[in-house]
């Protein structure tokens, strides 16, 4: 997995969360995932197609998910309903869009598919022999992660 992919997604996440939520994002140490990634509360899956392809999985804990939507809406949220899941799906979609713009500056041209949001437990297998990379992220409203299952065409 190339550093550009990870950096683009980190940078895009940092920018978008700062603009939309006024929060800072600190990156943790990326690590290789053996063969499976699992998420407990809310996941957003972005399909990437083009020069780089695969999937990117955002995993947010429940409290952070609710807090993100509270910041945006100014309203208390107490469960991950379709309003909440659609809002974080769109946030992840915007992050993906920005990451792809950055990748295209490095001459990787890609597109993203409509995000899929999964509420509740989610497990995913790594793609074939390619190992996935997990990037942990820290924010003042909670910790979350982005798993990248990407390879060059």
């Amino acid at each position: 997995m190339k550093a550009e992919y990870v950096n683009s997604f980190y940078q895009a996440t940092n920018d978008v969360l700062a603009l939309m939520l006024d929060i800072t994002t600190e990156r943790g140490m990326p690590r290789l995932l053996e063969d499976m990634v699992s998420s407990k509360d809310a996941s957003v899956i972005l399909g990437i197609i083009g020069d780089v392809k695969g999937t990117v999985l955002f995993s947010f804990p429940k409290d952070m998910t609710l807090e993100m939507v509270k910041i945006m809406s100014g309203m208390e949220m107490d469960e991950i309903d379709s309003f909440v899941s659609s809002a974080i799906g769109e946030v992840a979609n915007i992050i993906g869009g920005n990451a792809i713009t950055m990748l295209s500056a490095n001459n990787y041209h890609c597109d993203i598919a409509t995000p899929q949001v999964i509420v509740g437990e989610y497990k995913s297998l790594s793609l074939g022999n390619e190992k996935a990379l997990l990037l942990p992220l820290k924010t003042p409203i909670g910790e979350f992660s982005i798993a990248l299952f990407l390879k060059e065409k």
């Binding site: 379709s82 974080i88 915007i94």
Partner: protein, 139 residues
Amino acid sequence: MMWKEKYKIGVPLIDNQHEELFKRVSEFIQTVRGEGNWQAKLDKVKENMAFMQEYVVVHFNAEEAYQKKINYPDLENHQKIHAKFKADVNRYVQRLEQEGYSEELVQEFGGKLMAWLIMHVAAMDQKIGEYVEGQGGEK
């Protein structure tokens, strides 16, 4: 949804419209999220939605006309983004009409709309302000 001073781009026409757009989308979301039986508040939901939808078009048209007036270099791309958003909204409206205004689908629409609007105003449109500034400010 809170309107923030930092969203202002320094062009009163656009700033006022953005603030109005935030207000209308907020009203829509508050109605959708508010207490009460879904069927009972459905008329209000539809009314707020139509009110907001109409304003999205008014605003996009005004913003594009303004961009044309100032020879905004990213006009074409910006128009594409507006067009894509209008198409997304229309797709939801169509689904709502066909499938009935279920609470779930309206909530989904509201969540996406809110996130999209914040990002558009907080990021995309800031570039218009930067361009105007670079050209020596609003004339």
